[in-house]
Subunit: 470 residues, 2 copies
Amino acid sequence: MDVRGCIEENSAGFFDALSQWLAIPSISADPAHHGDVRRSAEWLASYLRQAGFPVAEVLQTGADGSGLPAVFAQWPAADPSAPAVLVYGHHDVQPAEPLDEWDSPPFRPVQRDGQVLARGASDDKGQVLFHALGARASLAAGGGDAPPVTLKLLIEGEEESGSANLPALLEANRERLACDVIVISDAMMWAPDVPSMCTGMRGLAVAEIDLRGPDRDLHSGSFGGAVPNPLHALADLLAGLHDADGRVALPGFYDKVLPVSAGEREMFARLPFDEQAWLDEAGHSRAAVGEAGYSTLERIWARPTAEVNGMWGGYTGPGGKTIIPSRAHAKLSFRLVANQEPADVAAALREYAAQRTPPGIEATVAFGEPGVRACFSPVDSAAVAAARQAMERAFGREVLFTREGGSGPEADLAAILGAPLVFLGVGLGSDRMHAPNEKAEMALLLKGAEAAAYLWEELAAAAGDVTAAR
Amino acid sequence: MDVRGCIEENSAGFFDALSQWLAIPSISADPAHHGDVRRSAEWLASYLRQAGFPVAEVLQTGADGSGLPAVFAQWPAADPSAPAVLVYGHHDVQPAEPLDEWDSPPFRPVQRDGQVLARGASDDKGQVLFHALGARASLAAGGGDAPPVTLKLLIEGEEESGSANLPALLEANRERLACDVIVISDAMMWAPDVPSMCTGMRGLAVAEIDLRGPDRDLHSGSFGGAVPNPLHALADLLAGLHDADGRVALPGFYDKVLPVSAGEREMFARLPFDEQAWLDEAGHSRAAVGEAGYSTLERIWARPTAEVNGMWGGYTGPGGKTIIPSRAHAKLSFRLVANQEPADVAAALREYAAQRTPPGIEATVAFGEPGVRACFSPVDSAAVAAARQAMERAFGREVLFTREGGSGPEADLAAILGAPLVFLGVGLGSDRMHAPNEKAEMALLLKGAEAAAYLWEELAAAAGDVTAAR
């Protein structure tokens, strides 16, 4: 039986199992549901064992198990030199509020019009579970009793509440999690008829700038015009963060930036993108602006930024108060791309602030350590090529490339486990993740399973390239 | 008997009367003391009648007398065409807190070491009362039973709480307050051995700028780098308020500015000014900065400014929040000099904000109407020349010129009554006005009385020039 046939045959059972799992309200942000998160982990480990995984166990996290449990499963390839692949996903879900905006209860899954409706259907239970179905189909098609690659799953229970214990979990289990490729299940594609793969996520560095002028607020009548005003200095410092072309003006900021390749830019340009619809989604922003020479998608996915997230100082109450304030403050964040180092940005901001702060003002720059590195898999790497091939086989059409603008635990996975990431996901922007009436497209979940099955074949076929970095 | 002799002879009685008045805690900011403010007004009116003023009465203020009373007194010159002079001062005082920092109770006046110690000794009861002594000395020296000018006093009861009812009071009594010169008693000199006269006060315009970007705060991962951030726009707008020379960059801002005359600059330069001591007083500011080409005193007295008094927007709590905020705000104030119009500044700021706000950001500029015009009496005007001559006769040395950087009710007086201001005061920066242990120098109060007496002579002598504007 081929992969597709096996998946079709088992699809009803797959959705029944998914519905069972979705009925467990594994809300990690809500302590009242932490028992449910534990039940969810037990359910998954048990399901994976039934599905054939020789190892499937619940991993406690945090000091003395104070965190919420992850699930680890493993199915070794027959050939011990075959690539090892780690699938990352999460079994916890977002809170369901506001409850009265749901058409059906969030934890009573409904299958209707080709969709599964429930909290977690797309983010991320549906996309985790299709890997079990894909593994089964891969074995059925391959005819053996082991997958063509060593398959590992790490399914976290704290992703929706910040993944606080993930780095320690990865460090503590570095050996059993060792792999040649990390497959991210918590991922999206552009549209149902536009399959695509994410190849990277931006990193993050956050900072706070504090400026000190006089020891106390001064009367602007007595002193105005003759002593430095920290609000003026802050405005100048922040205004200078970008040049006239919208580029970040910190010294050396772009030195290590990996340029977007012509191939990737061409792929981005081929995505059907409705800029006006995107602006409407962006809080009805009235203009798309940013770094000169780049498209909107390039700006949010593949170019680094500096954003002022907040600033304050002086009198902010009703009416006026004619003072020169003593202090001024700003919070900043930098979105980073490969191969920028958060520590370099910290150093550049410190240098910039020192140079640009006028006489009589003292500047302090505090950085949120250690920051998050960007993660990125070149579109021509062996792992990405294999995943793209797998997606194209499943969807029967060309697969385009995207990236993500935000940061997630993925960067920790890549950094700590030292393996490249590929994003194999079938989530949609319209899946209402984190919102009422979350849903997953049933046909896409099955395509995900199919792509996963093909991915193991493709990675096994490209074993030499995939394991070259060992 | 000459003026000085008469003042010496009556000095003991003068200080006894002043002590009686200072014992009344006429704190206008504290409703519990509003009865005392009324008593203070009655005391003064009664005292002025005893001192010979044919008219001395309490004026109710506010709708239905809801304000605190002023005192009006009048002593007509024998010659009906003689100049009319209105002395402005106030009989209310600042609160006395913190009480435990006073060496003696604030409302039990003490005469010690040549000083009167009490709340209001310098600001402003001592400086109001010396005008009564000066009037008496002027008459004694002149030998007649009427002063050489028509003398009017308007002594307000709400100066320390904002003079809210003063403009209406002036409007309602425009005719009886009509005058050729307004003499401000609430004034300072540079130092006990450096007599000086203030010739102007800066005006004020206050504004708030509000910038709108997206309808809601946006995730900087998803949108950062591609939509306008109102905090960036605000920083740019505020940074652009000054050019590299520290000049205010609003269009036309300096068009109507009356330049500081060479004579006045020379007078300022001759004042013994310890910049380091001034910086220490300015909250230990670490540098004197401002408009290029002007000294610190010129900058705070005679040049207009733009100051950001407060700004805020986005996330300002602990930790970080990676947002592009929806809104950004700033409060600004402009110190104005003659002959700037607050309305012109409002128009210029609106024009500037409209020009400098980038695509996708909407700016709103709100102005505090109507603003305060600067007041200024040219150093070579007849009134200032007469007052300077009177001060020089009293002190026996050259009198220098100063200005004040702040704004007060004086601008309303000049505008509504349509007469030039002269500042005849003997307050000192070391008098601890508004602070514990306020004091006045007894010798200086007597010098003030002497200068006042000479001022009536001088103004009468210059009657042609003084009344030329009628």
